[in-house]
Structure formats: C-alpha cells, structure tokens
C-alpha cells in the first residue's frame, strides 16, 4: 500500500476490511478471518502503552467484565473463558484492571517492559477473609 502511486489504488478512496469474500463475519472468529492489510486489525498500537495489563489466570473467575468493557477488543475470550490480552491492540487504558472484581485482581497494570513471569511471582496473594482489613 505505501509503495502505491496515485494510479494504482482503488478509486473512491474505498477500503476493504477482508481479502476476498466473507460470508458472515459475525460467525467467524478473528483467527479464522482473512483480514486485509487495510484492516486496522493488521496494525499494532502497542507503542501507545506506558503500562500494560498482565493477566493472572489463577485468580480469574471468567466473569467477562474485562471483555465487555475493553474499548480495544483486546481481551481475548474463547468459549466463555478469558484467554489472554491482545497486546497488538491494547492501548493500556487500564479499564480491565479497574473492573476486575476479584481480590486480588486477576489483571494488574505493570510497566511495559515488565517480565510476565516475574510479575506473576510478585502478584499479591489471596488473603484469608478474617485477615482482610
């Protein structure tokens, strides 16, 4: 696309989100779609982030609050389970962490360069109810 001259792209400034034909996008998960290079899905906004959300599977109750309130389609849920954060499209807003209802939270913000395994080791531990203050 970026190499194109004025006489090579499609007329009318149109864009196609998919390569070729797609029968019903609502029935096809992203990993099974043939996205075009014109689809913003093909682009990363990872460099927008200062902090990133990390996910601790052990604490997650799959409530899907993070999924519904993520503005950037960056919480990957499959079969009703929270699977991962999509770090190509996450802008690091932190909403997922805010809405996470568990104690401690299953999602926490860490500096962008933080190692995931290290973060999991540092993760606040579940406390017994009587010790809660």
């Amino acid at each position: 696309m970026l190499q194109n001259g004025w006489d090579t792209f499609e007329i009318g400034t149109i864009l196609r989100p998919f390569e070729g034909s797609i029968s019903d996008a609502s029935a096809i998960l992203p990993e099974d779609r043939l996205y075009s290079q014109s689809n913003s899905f093909s682009v990363s906004v990872a460099d927008w982030r200062i902090e990133k959300p990390l996910f601790n599977k052990d604490l997650c109750i799959d409530c899907q609050f993070c999924w519904i309130y993520c503005p950037d389609m960056s919480i990957i849920s499959r079969d009703k389970k929270m699977v991962a954060v999509d770090y190509d499209h996450c802008k690091g807003c932190g909403i997922c962490v805010q809405v996470c209802p568990t104690t401690p939270k299953a999602l926490l913000m860490f500096p962008e360069q933080k190692d995931e395994e290290e973060a999991l080791l540092e993760w606040p531990k579940k406390e017994k109810k009587e010790k809660e203050n």
Binding site: N4, G5, W6, D7, F9, E10, I11, G12, T13, I14, L15, R16, P17, F18, S21, I22, S23, A25, S38
Partner: protein, 406 residues
C-alpha cells in the same frame, strides 16, 4: 414491474418534463429530492409517474437539498442507479455533498435547472449555480432546449455509471427559458431509452454483504493529494471520449448529432460568440441573419463545461479574428469564467483573436437578439482593428450608464 408509458414520437414538453421522463425511462432506483423553483416540476412529475405505477424505485422526499444529496450518496454507495434535481440556493446548500459524491466516485445524475443565487433572491434563470459547481469534480453537460435535456440525461447515466468513469454528472438547463418552455421533443420508447443507458452495474456496493467496503474515509496529508489526482485524471482522460462515444451511439439511434463543442457556422467564421444554454441558439439565429448579410459570423456553444474541452474549443476558434465570451453569472471581482477558460485555451495557440467578455442575463434578464447584434458589431470592429475597441468586460442589457471594466 413499472408500467410502460406510451409516448408519442414527438411530444411537446418543457425541459422539466423532458428530464422527468428521462429519469423514468432510466428506471432510477432511488430519487431523493427537495423541491426548489424552477426544478420542482421534475420531481413533481416524477412523483406523479410514481403515483400512477410508472416507476418502481424509491422516492425519498428529503428535508433539504443537503439531505437529498446525502441520501443520494448513501443510496449510490449502496449500489444502484440514483438521480435528483435542484436549482440555485438548493444547489448551494448541496454544494458540500457534491464534493463528497465526486470524491467517493459515485455516479449520481443531478439535473440542475440553472437559476440565480441571492441576495437579492431571484427565481429566474442564470448560470450562477452552474458556475458554483465547476470545481466540484462533477461532469457538467449543458442543454439549450428540452430535446437536449431529454437526450443529455440519457447520455449522462450512460457515461457516469461506466466503470472506467464512476463520476457524478450534472445536466444543466436554463431555468424557465428551457425548464418551463414547451417545445417539440422527439422521444424514444421506454425500452429503447433504457437499452441505450444499459443496466446499472454495481461497483464497490455496500449491499454486497460478502464484500464489506468502507466508503468516505479520511485522508491525511500523506494520501489526499494522490486521491484527488486520481479523480482529476479520470475526469481529464476518460470522460470526453466516453461522452463522444455516447453521442455517437445516440446519433446512430436517433440521427441527432451532439458534439463536445457545438460549432455553428464556424468553418470560415471571422467573428464568434461563445456561450452556454438557450443563448447559444438565440445567437445562432442572429448569426444566420448576419450570414444573410454576408458577415462571417459564427457561434460556439459549450456542450460539456466540465471536463472543459480546451483543445476542441481552441480548434473550433482557430480561424477567428474576434471572439466574445458571454457569461451569465456575476463575475464578482474578475473577468467572466468563460473569458478565463477561453483565454487559457487560446493563449499558447497560433490564434491571436481579440477576446472580449460580456456579462448578461443575470436573474433571468432577457438576452435579446438586439443585444446579440450589438455584440457582433463590437466584434466586427475588433476584428477590423486587430485589437479591442471596447473595454474587455462589458455588461449588456443593464439599466443606466454603460458599465465596463478592464
């Protein structure tokens, strides 16, 4: 299916009725319109055809001209044949969306019944709206009588919907002087007219659900120029040959000959008037009278205003000694647009005709044969002197002391 409308071979129609029937015969899918004098009867007639079963499409009576053209754009992007009509203030209100339609490469046909633009408010015919549209990226075809309106509508659909073109087209006619003047119109039967235009062939249509498409994106500095260049390139390189092809097709079908530039007794003409609209024919009548007196007068009518047939016009005028360009729009601070166009067309050629400019007919002011005789007399003097004997720009048909500039 819409009913066939039985037409006589020759109907007595005004320009509006001619446009309405052409839209009906084109089997336009969506007409979205807002009424404004003098184009209103086009959509009124259309509504009446619809009320009587002669039209299958949707007719959206919008809340404004801007809304009408916005609906037309949405409908066209969805993937079907679209047309509307407007004039004057309505055209001005539409203007923003006209640039959108051409930039999005949507083949919409707009009948513009030319009318003055206020203030002061005036419902009568001049070319202010046509001139306002000249940088909007639309094809602009001009008509001189109701027959032209009928024929040029058919041509406009055929040209603008072509996949090599995909640009919207305006069909212009003079408010009242054409739109409300009944004259003979030779008709085509419904099926012959439709076949001449051809089936609508969708392109980048939103309603093709298997191929989603994004229309009307934003471009930054990095892409805007290329898209505008591409649009201009299509307008400049593809449109005139396609119009010529449609003219040839129409001639084969009807015997009626149209040209990108309508030259009238120009072969040996020494003096010529260049103008648009009904004035072309009135000037032809005067040139006939002058020819009878042995004066080598001619007329050049602009048939296609955009894209401007610069080379064809220079060619039509190459033997002339004196040329008058007649502009029916207030030039507001410079020479008339046609003067500018002609000066540009002739500057690098071997033609060294004396070029002058007349502003006339604003707000429907009559262009009389007597005024045209006066202009030709000026031209004779200019031709003889080899230089302008009058100011470059003169107002003609105006009350009070002579008004002229440059």
């Amino acid at each position: 299916m819409a009913d066939i409308f039985e037409l006589r071979d020759i109907e007595v129609w005004d320009g509006n009725m001619a446009a309405s029937h052409a839209l009906r015969q084109a089997q336009v899918d969506v007409v979205a319109a807002y009424p404004i004098t003098p184009s209103t009867p086009i959509v009124e007639n259309y509504a009446s055809f619809m009320a009587n079963g002669y039209i299958d499409g949707e007719f959206v009576m919008a809340e404004s001209e801007h809304g009408a053209m916005s609906c037309c754009i949405g409908a066209s992007a969805a993937g079907g044949r679209v047309a509307t009509a407007t004039s004057s203030q309505g055209f001005a209100l539409m203007l923003e969306t006209l640039y959108s339609a051409s930039g999005m490469r949507l083949p919409i046909v707009l009948n513009v019944v030319n009318r003055a633009i206020g203030a002061p408010l005036n419902v009568n015919g001049d070319h202010s709206d046509m001139y306002m549209g000249r940088d909007s990226g639309w094809i602009q075809i001009d008509c001189y009588n109701p027959q032209d309106v009928y024929d040029m509508n058919l041509v406009a659909f055929r040209v603008c919907e072509d996949h090599g073109i995909r640009l919207p087209a305006m069909v212009h006619q003079d408010g009242f002087m054409t739109s409300h003047t009944a004259q003979r119109v030779k008709t085509l039967s419904d099926d012959v007219a439709y076949d001449f235009i051809g089936e609508f062939k969708p392109m980048n249509d939103m309603l093709d659900l298997d191929h989603p498409v994004t229309h009307g994106v934003q471009t930054e500095e990095d892409w805007h120029f290329e898209h505008k260049a591409r649009q201009h390139h299509a307008l400049m390189s593809a449109v005139l040959p396609k119009i010529q092809e449609a003219f040839d097709g129409l001639k084969a079908l009807t015997g009626r000959q149209y040209n990108l530039v309508e030259s009238y007794t120009m072969d040996d003409a020494e003096i010529a008037i260049v103008c648009m609209g009904t004035s072309v024919e009135t000037a032809q009548e005067v040139s006939n009278e002058l020819r009878a007196q042995g004066i080598k007068a001619g007329v050049v009518g602009i048939r296609v205003f955009r894209p401007f047939p610069l080379e064809q016009i220079a060619d039509a005028l190459k033997g002339c000694k004196a040329i008058a360009t007649l502009d029916r729009s207030s030039p507001n601070g410079t020479v008339g647009a046609l003067y500018n166009e002609l000066a540009g067309a002739l500057f690098n050629t071997s033609t060294h005709a004396v070029l002058t400019n007349y502003i006339y007919g604003l707000g429907g002011r009559d262009l009389t044969k007597s005024s045209i005789h006066t202009i030709y007399r000026d031209l004779q003097a200019n031709a003889q002197a080899g230089s302008p004997t009058t100011p470059l720009q003169q107002f003609i048909g105006l009350r009070g002391p002579k008004l002229s500039f440059f």
